[in-house]
Amino acid sequence: MQTARERLQRVLERPWIWSFLGALGAWGAAVAFMAGHGSGELASTTLSFAVFMVIIALGQMFVITTGPGNVDLSIPATIALTGAVAMKVMAEQDEMILLGLGAALLVGLAVGLFNYLLIWLLRIPPIIATMSSNFLVMSSAIAYGRGLRIKPPPLFSDFTTDKVMGIPVLAIVTALLTVVMGIVLRRTVFGRSVEAIGQNMRAAWLAGVQVGRTRLKVYLISATLAGLCGALLAGFSGGSSLDAGEAYLLASIAVVVIGGTSVAGGRGNIPGLWGAALFLYLLEAMLNTYGAGAGVRMIMTGLIIIAVITIAGGEETR
């Protein structure tokens, strides 16, 4: 029999628990200040913003897990371009929604393929390759979306903003996506290969893991999810915009790592993405309710991120 203490001990050792505790703390602090008013609304609003971050972080998590130096910096431009493509294809017509979504996903897929070709053919470090491709994709988005002011079709707009009993529909869909990704990471040969490559690429290769193919898929997943996020975000905010993805570049890395994924690679974590995404948005909301100015808000956000990672502890030395 386990004592309650031992059980608590085991829960606290989970790498994702700290992000949820942080989110809960920030929510509690904000609600306490508002004397309990609007606690449900705050949670619901946070959730509707956090889902986009979770979608992006799911892909970024796979990329980061394949080892040091692997990170997808092409996400902001991909979001901008796919948002514009989705809006243009949908052309404010409900019956074109699926086609528009498909187009956004395809464009994302193409960006991912391009990223991996740069990494593989030209042997460019992924961080530089995806940064360069971010520049190229961003230019395409600027050229393609010039003067583009297309609203999302009514049905698509409703889908991205609707709530069922206070829970955004998108959050439910993203939860399902998270479960699927969890199964992919833990239960498939591909998922196991991702972690094996992150732990030791050479050992994984010697053990017969298809390193190249796995890395290709990782970058495809990340860019395709960015495409999905781009389309949904355009629907959510009533049209595409060039800087829609800006906030996701560095924050997605923070969410992945605060969520308990090893930044050195080899150990992914899916539940923590939710905790970390909620934590970041609730933190912002909490500081807002306290009436902090922009400068103070940024300083506090930074210090709290550092505090959380310090308390949660670093990596064991290898």
Binding site: P68, M131, M138, G302
Partner: protein, 307 residues
């Protein structure tokens, strides 16, 4: 002469030439003293930030806060350093101490540097907003004078870059403590067993990054003459790209100060080059990415030759 090592060392030079030749071809007037001065001016702060980033990469860490840090230095320099020089110097000293403290924290708790420096990015940005809420301020005269220095025959940016590269090269690559510092990135256990303090080494490297970050902010403001909170945000990615272009690696303490400076010059020129190639504004950022890719692709070809 043509062994893999010297070829590897020659790559950053090669990248720089690839950028320079078309610029000279399209606009021969840039080959003059005045033209080179104009062309390379903005490369000085980028090169300093790249060297700062290089110290962090040398101990296997990554600094995402560089852009915010250079920004806060610029804001302090344009306000306190100009109005109350003593207070300004103290504040800049505190910034460097902050960097050393971040290094100590990362080592002490064995934290992922990416997350801690990402948090610090927000902190520096917030501080910059507090120091200078609206764009403005005034660069101290002596900083402006220094950046406008006219050296006979060779343009100032080239001299500055050469001095920077050589000073750091001899300090880090040819001194005994420099070898220890790089060893922290190469084999920390061996360095610790040999009796050196890893904590101290990491703090020294972060403090050095802080010092060169201050120099970067000062030189930047000497050129722009006024500041704003997010004046240096692109420096985070530029500095990382500069180190890698210069032949540095993400792990193993393998860095090259001379390469890093050349990498920074290449990046700064890539931005500048676009104005000469008459590229439509929509594709300016894209062209920057394309130039980076072309340079790295040529490197890959050479790398494969050496086999």
């Amino acid at each position: 002469m043509l062994n893999p090592q010297s070829l590897r060392a020659a790559l950053p030079v090669f990248s720089l030439v690839i950028i320079l030749v078309p610029i000279f071809y399209i606009q021969p007037r840039t080959m003059s003293y005045f033209g080179l001065n104009l062309l390379l001016q903005l490369a000085v702060p980028i090169a300093l930030a790249t060297i700062a980033q290089m110290f962090i990469l040398a101990v296997n860490d990554l600094d995402l806060s560089m852009g915010g840090y250079v920004g806060v230095v610029a804001c302090i320099s344009a306000t306190y350093l100009n109005d109350t020089p003593l207070l300004g110097v103290v504040l800049l000293g505190l910034c460097v101490a902050g960097y050393a403290a971040v290094g100590a924290l990362i080592h002490w708790r064995n934290l992922p540097s990416i997350v801690v420096t990402l948090g610090m990015l927000f902190v520096w940005q917030g501080l910059a907003v507090l120091v200078l809420p609206t764009p403005g301020g005034k660069a101290p005269e002596w900083v402006k004078d220094f950046m406008a220095l006219k050296i006979p025959l060779i343009p100032f940016p080239i001299v500055a870059a050469a001095v920077l590269a050589l000073v750091v090269h001899f300090g880090l690559m040819h001194s005994s403590y420099g070898a220890v510092l790089r060893g922290v990135g190469g084999n920390p256990k061996a360095v610790a067993r040999a009796g050196w303090s890893l904590l101290k080494a990491k703090m020294v490297m972060y403090a050095l990054a802080g010092v060169f970050g201050v120099l970067s902010g000062l030189s930047l403001i000497g050129l722009t003459t006024s500041a704003q909170a997010n004046i240096a945000m692109p420096y985070t990615l530029l500095s990382i790209a500069g180190v890698i272009l210069g032949g540095g690696e993400f792990v193993g303490g393998r860095v090259s100060p001379i390469g890093a400076v050349l990498g920074a010059l290449t990046l700064a020129l890539a931005t500048r080059a676009l104005t000469f190639f008459s590229i439509p504004p929509d594709w300016q950022i894209g062209a920057q990415g394309a130039i980076l890719i072309i340079v790295l692709a040529l490197r890959a070809v050479i790398n494969r030759r050496e086999g």
